[in-house]
């Protein structure tokens, strides 16, 4: 695999897990990209909104556009990808990517982009687009992902990649 898109760590859950954390992220890349495919064990018929926490304590701010198949909305509440609900169609998991450019800089706040979906072939589906901001001038060294409700279930996957622009 090219050094421009390198797998830092892959996490495939073997059991139900309350949250997933990537820690000690090396500062050797230019950007980070996090791919998540996840489902929770709560009874939601479609899905829920996960949350991010950076560097152990930093909750980001954000702006999103959200569509559920019949309506679209925007606000500042959701800042992280979706996970499928435990009551959604069996064996369906969410799909999302989160891109964090220049995550290791120590001069300015970090921004990121999220593109995520929950599609269950049911009566409702979710699509979420997020612009996020992490208010720290420190390098991003850890990312914690927590489900919006319940816990992440077995077979949820979390892949963190580092990208170099040279």
């Amino acid at each position: 695999m090219a050094n421009t898109f390198t797998l830092i760590e892959a996490k495939t859950l073997g059991t139900t897990t309350a949250s997933v954390t990537f820690s000690s992220i090396p500062a050797t890349y230019t950007d980070l990209c996090l791919f998540i495919s996840a489902r929770d064990n709560d009874g939601g018929a479609t899905g829920a909104f996960s949350t991010f926490e950076f560097n152990g304590s930093i909750a980001p701010s954000g702006r999103y556009i959200f569509g559920n198949g019949s309506a679209v909305s925007t606000n500042t509440v959701h800042k992280a990808p979706l996970e499928n609900g435990g009551g959604s169609t069996a064996n369906t998991f969410s799909n999302s990517s989160t891109y964090i450019p220049n995550y290791a800089n120590t001069s300015y706040n970090k921004s990121y982009s999220v593109d995520g979906v929950v599609e269950t072939n049911g009566t409702e589906a979710y699509q979420l687009l997020v612009a996020g901001l992490i208010a720290t001038t420190s390098a991003i060294t850890s990312i914690k992902v927590t489900p919006g409700t319940g816990s992440f279930v077995q077979y949820s996957t979390f892949y963190l990649y580092g990208i170099k622009n040279s």
Binding site: A2, F5, G62, R63, Y99, P101, N102, Y112, S113, N165
Partner: protein, 165 residues
């Protein structure tokens, strides 16, 4: 977004002094798609815009774009036709991220389409858009500019090539 050995850096540029535009020139046609990552902003509340071309930047009325956006509690959609400088989204002094994908950019048969997404919390807006360049020429020149003012110092623009095989 594709991963693996096909994701190749082409060029990156960091704005050292605020400037009105930046142009990637003589882009190789050897990839299938291009991805451009913009991380930064503008010197005041503005919009990122773009032009593309073959050999030079096309500033003719040869572009169309359609946007969806969310601002405050409002969602909406806008559209430009016969544009000379299509919309890429809002920007401000707040650091923001924008991802632009140019599909099949080197073909000489069809008009070119790009997908764009990003948001700016300085203007509290998220937007996504599609832009068409009405030309069958290959894209080998991409210019990022603004509707007014400058691209901020410290903004990075990184261009990657993705090969399908």
């Amino acid at each position: 977004m594709a991963a693996g050995s096909t994701y190749t850096p082409i060029a990156t540029f960091t704005v050292s002094t605020a400037q009105a535009s930046y142009t990637f020139s003589t882009i190789s046609g050897s990839y299938t798609d291009l991805v451009l990552i913009i991380n930064g902003g503008t010197t005041t509340n503005n919009q990122f815009r773009l032009n593309v071309g073959n050999g030079s930047v096309d500033t003719g009325a040869n572009y169309g774009d359609t946007q969806i956006y969310g601002y405050s509690s409002t969602v909406g959609s806008g559209r430009e036709v016969n544009s000379t400088n299509p919309y890429l989204g809002v920007a401000s002094t707040t650091n923001s991220t924008r991802i632009i994908e140019f599909m099949n950019y080197a073909n000489t048969t069809t008009y070119k389409t790009l997908l764009n997404k990003g948001g700016d919390l300085g203007q509290s807006q998220y937007d996504a858009s599609v832009v068409v360049w009405r030309s069958t020429s290959a894209i080998n020149t991409i210019q990022i500019n603004t509707n007014a003012g400058n691209i901020s110092s410290g903004t990075t623009l990184s261009l990657y090539g993705i090969a399908a095989a």
